[in-house]
Amino acid sequence: MSKTNAVLIALSVAVLAFIAGYMVGNSASPPGTGPAITEEQVKELPTVAKGIESCPAKGANPAKVVVVEWTDFQ
């Protein structure tokens, strides 16, 4: 193998390694994914929205999505 070929191969490997590293680095877990949380951690999670607990509400409770509206009449 000539010296030029060795250099080209080394450069190619370096570039491929950089691209592979970049791709891995950008395929991190999306928000909300990760390991399961423990029962202890679950116990610490707030399960009631105390600030609006007594406000009129419609729909399922608990709900995956909560829409809070502030409104008035003119």
Partner: protein
């Protein structure tokens, strides 16, 4: 409710509908107001209470009570603390939507929240905790503090709290227009427009 100071019917209707809620008819009264939003005088409000079968005498006492006023002011204070200075204002798991928005915008936001909720559920996060978890960072933690944890926000600055705020339309405001494009002669009346194309 978030009765804005420059909506003259806002506070009376907020008190009226909250008082109706004490008799279990918040939504019925709310929808009646919505359907009759051009008829919101005091006699109108009383008529709606009677039409819905409320105990009108009790309703009258309630809407004039400190209890109902404080309930409205507490809701208003949270809105103000979250920067919801206009109506309507929505928070979808803490994500802010100011003003009336098309259905599609809500659908996109709700679908995104549902997807995040699914991922969290796969990590054993219970559904009753999703609201808190997904809104945790909203409003730099203010949503979590005031809506989820129930901390008391600073007192509302709008009407009904510390007296009516002067409407923006009546206030003198300095606007640094600089070298902005302009038309016309003289300066007795200056109309400044902020605009965009959609």
């Amino acid at each position: 409710m978030n009765p804005l100071s420059f909506h003259d019917k806002a506070m009376p209707t907020a008190l009226a509908v909250t008082a109706a809620g004490k008799q279990g008819k918040f939504w019925e009264y709310y929808h009646t107001l919505f359907e009759n939003n051009q008829a919101l005088t005091d006699p109108d409000l009383k008529k709606y209470a009677a039409d819905l079968g409320l105990n009108v005498e009790q309703w009258e006492k309630d809407r004039a009570s400190d209890d109902v006023k404080k309930t409205v002011e507490a809701q208003q204070a949270i809105a103000m603390a979250l920067g919801a200075t206009g109506t309507p204002a929505f928070f979808v798991n803490g994500q802010t939507f100011s003003g009336a928005k098309p259905f599609e915008e809500f659908k996109v936001a709700i679908d995104a929240q549902l997807a995040k909720g699914e991922r969290l559920a796969a990590r054993n996060v219970p559904v009753e905790a999703l609201h808190a978890v997904l809104s945790g960072a909203a409003q730099e933690g203010k949503y979590r503090a005031y809506v989820i944890d129930g901390k008391t926000p600073p007192k509302a600055q709008a009407a009904g709290a510390d007296g009516p705020e002067e409407p923006l339309a009546k206030r003198s405001v300095e606007i640094p227009v600089g070298d902005s494009p302009r038309k016309g002669e003289g300066d007795k009346v200056v109309l400044t427009e902020f605009s965009d194309f959609q």
